[in-house]
Symmetry: C2
DNA sequence: TAGATTGTTAATCGATTAACAATC
DNA sequence: TAGATTGTTAATCGATTAACAATC
């Protein structure tokens, strides 16, 4: 279970997890690589290679056990331990993410939210009260967190990330349109919404040129 | 300019665009593949291959012209024509995206926002008024759009996407945790926030196991 | 046992890296 | 001309696909 898994496979794990959850809801006990391939849009061969890469096990002539595999991938994805999060930057997006939380099936818990504007301090966002960023260190010292959600301007992101790193944070969910540079023991996952929309725009243009 | 560009290269275009914009702000006229590689975290060789793949041109002994290349990639990304968007689902995320819009450097214009809850109809989100989803067809017939932003529950996403497709929408920016199935002339880009967070969770777990 | 489907090895494909000649 | 850096060809690497023997 602790062997190295190639990055392309890792990036597909959440998708597999999502479909296995769905199959579990539908009370399907086993799923063949062919069926799973159809659902995910991959080839059956790739599904089998992936399963082998992440250490899953199936039953010949029968397929993969849905519940067992869902649990197994869940463990890989760290679903077994609750992750504490803090959100930095209470703009529209930051607030949406905090409120949205129920969406993220359990396993995540937002423990504090921060903003640098004094006028926002004290504001209630769901069950949490916005705290001033100047109190970041003391709040995190008292109540350490695993993940910081960065929903702040690009210009402030790098510096804030370093500050959060010094507070012990090692996971960064970055919504600011910059690439963060942090020590190797930090993990960063970017959600670059602007780039995502640009990609869609590119594809739209391509299709328009080719199809008609 | 209309030649086929491999997908891995296309996905890096927005990043190149972002760095070139930054260099332009700093009044840097030329950038070498080596420098650009340092910024983006790629190798110089890959940068040169990428540039060749998307049809960019540099000057030997000098590097790539920043402004020209920024404009060129901008054209590829469809920055030259304004894209009209409608947002379907006025939950926290939908509202955040509408308000956030200024963030997306010009080139996008939200023309209408919808929700299926009558109680939300009439609500003002920035300069727009929430319309009931039952009016989708008539609104889009009068004022066609290029892109639909789907910020609604997974259970409703596929059906809504098909309905939007029938209204002439071909670009889908999908925030619902499902994979959409649409005709080939539609383009879908997913923003699966839950999966993104799971990926971070995975990496966090890996590092915890290896580092200490 | 027969049928189905995995697990695994080999073949292919494409992306990245390396090297260097062309040229500004 | 000399130095720098691109453009491009070749080599490597890794991911995906194909094939089939193992086995439930």
């Amino acid at each position: 279970m602790s062997a190295y898994i190639p990055d392309p496979v890792v990036k597909r794990l959440p998708m597999y997890y999502r479909y296995l959850k769905e199959l579990e809801r539908n009370n399907q006990m086993f799923i063949s690589s062919t069926e799973l391939a159809k659902l995910t849009g991959l080839t059956a061969s790739q599904v089998r290679q992936d399963v082998n890469a992440f250490g899953g096990e199936g039953r010949q002539g029968c397929g993969y056990p849905v519940i067992e595999m869902r649990k197994y991938i869940g463990k890989l994805l760290g679903k077994t331990t609750v992750k504490k999060m803090v959100v930095v930057g209470m703009g529209n997006l930051g607030r949406a993410i905090v409120r949205y939380e129920a969406f993220f099936h359990d396993g995540y818990q937002t423990s504090a939210v921060f903003d640098c504007q004094s006028q926002k301090t004290g504001l209630k966002i769901g069950p949490l009260t916005v705290q001033h960023i100047r109190d970041l260190e003391s709040v995190l010292a008292e109540n350490p967190a695993d993940i910081a959600v960065l929903t702040l301007p690009a210009s402030a992101a790098q510096e804030m990330a370093e500050r959060l790193y010094r507070c012990g944070i090692r996971g960064f969910w970055n919504f600011a349109p910059v690439d963060l540079h942090l020590p190797d023991d930090a993990s960063v996952v970017n959600v670059h919404l602007d780039e995502s929309l640009e990609l869609l725009s590119y594809r739209l243009n391509q299709k328009k040129r080719i199809q008609p």
